[in-house]
Symmetry: C2
Subunit: 145 residues, 2 copies
């Protein structure tokens, strides 16, 4: 497995062990992880703390996102794609999109290179979580109504 | 001025007084404010804490966003528009878009009703801030490179 995706998956597993939504993310620049995070909806009662948002928050006020790549274990949703677009992150690696197609079309249309690594471990963890806690998953993507 | 926009502007002014970026937001449901916030980039060193994100975070895990309307003193950027789209908020009121056009076209294309209130007080506060701290403004919208 890609070494950065492995780090994102480590974050996702941390989230799973905490009783949270197992999606993890790392931000990479010049071959180095400069931010990492995982979904914190449950842990921090924060509906905006998707994995990618938590990761970008943790990376801090870097100001310039040129040359960065965002890894996530799952294809980013519109919220996280919005962050990618607004801050000019030009490359996104997704662990999988089997369980959620996300906003990949929008990102591509707006010039982001989106690479779907279609990783079976990422897909298996997410599939397991969705089958265990479907209400929580629906809440996280705004489909709870 | 619209009473909810007034509350969003109160939030923006709080931010200005704290030395932050003066953008405020409230979330409204059934004629009642259920969340409020303002940009916290400076105050919390959090690059993801745009006003609308801070407001939605503060509203908590409401799960179902049907019937809500999001007010912001400034037209939402792609990050905040992404939250609107992902969580199914169908109505957005912007205090102004003179200083920043934001992602209004995207929101409209994806079925969000966007109302630009074109308020002179909102526009004046933002214009003043941008002229005082242009670097901070550019950082907040990802144009610092």
């Amino acid at each position: 497995m890609d070494k950065f995706l492995r780090e994102a998956l480590d974050e996702a597993r941390k989230g799973y062990c905490e009783g949270g939504i197992p999606i993890g993310s790392v931000l990479v620049k010049d071959g180095r992880v400069i931010g990492r995070g995982h979904n914190q909806r449950v842990q921090k009662d924060d509906p905006m703390a998707h994995a990618e948002i938590d990761c970008l928050r943790q990376a801090g006020r870097i100001g310039d996102y040129h040359g960065t790549a965002l890894y996530s274990t799952l294809m980013p949703c519109h919220l996280c794609a919005g962050a990618v677009i607004q801050f000019g992150i030009k490359k996104v690696f997704a662990g999988e999109s089997r369980n959620f197609a996300g906003a990949q079309d929008l990102m591509r249309r707006l010039g982001v290179e989106v690479i779907d690594l279609d990783d079976p471990e990422c897909a298996a963890l997410m599939r397991r979580f969705i089958s265990e806690k479907p209400e929580l998953w629906n809440e996280d993507i705004g489909s709870s109504a």
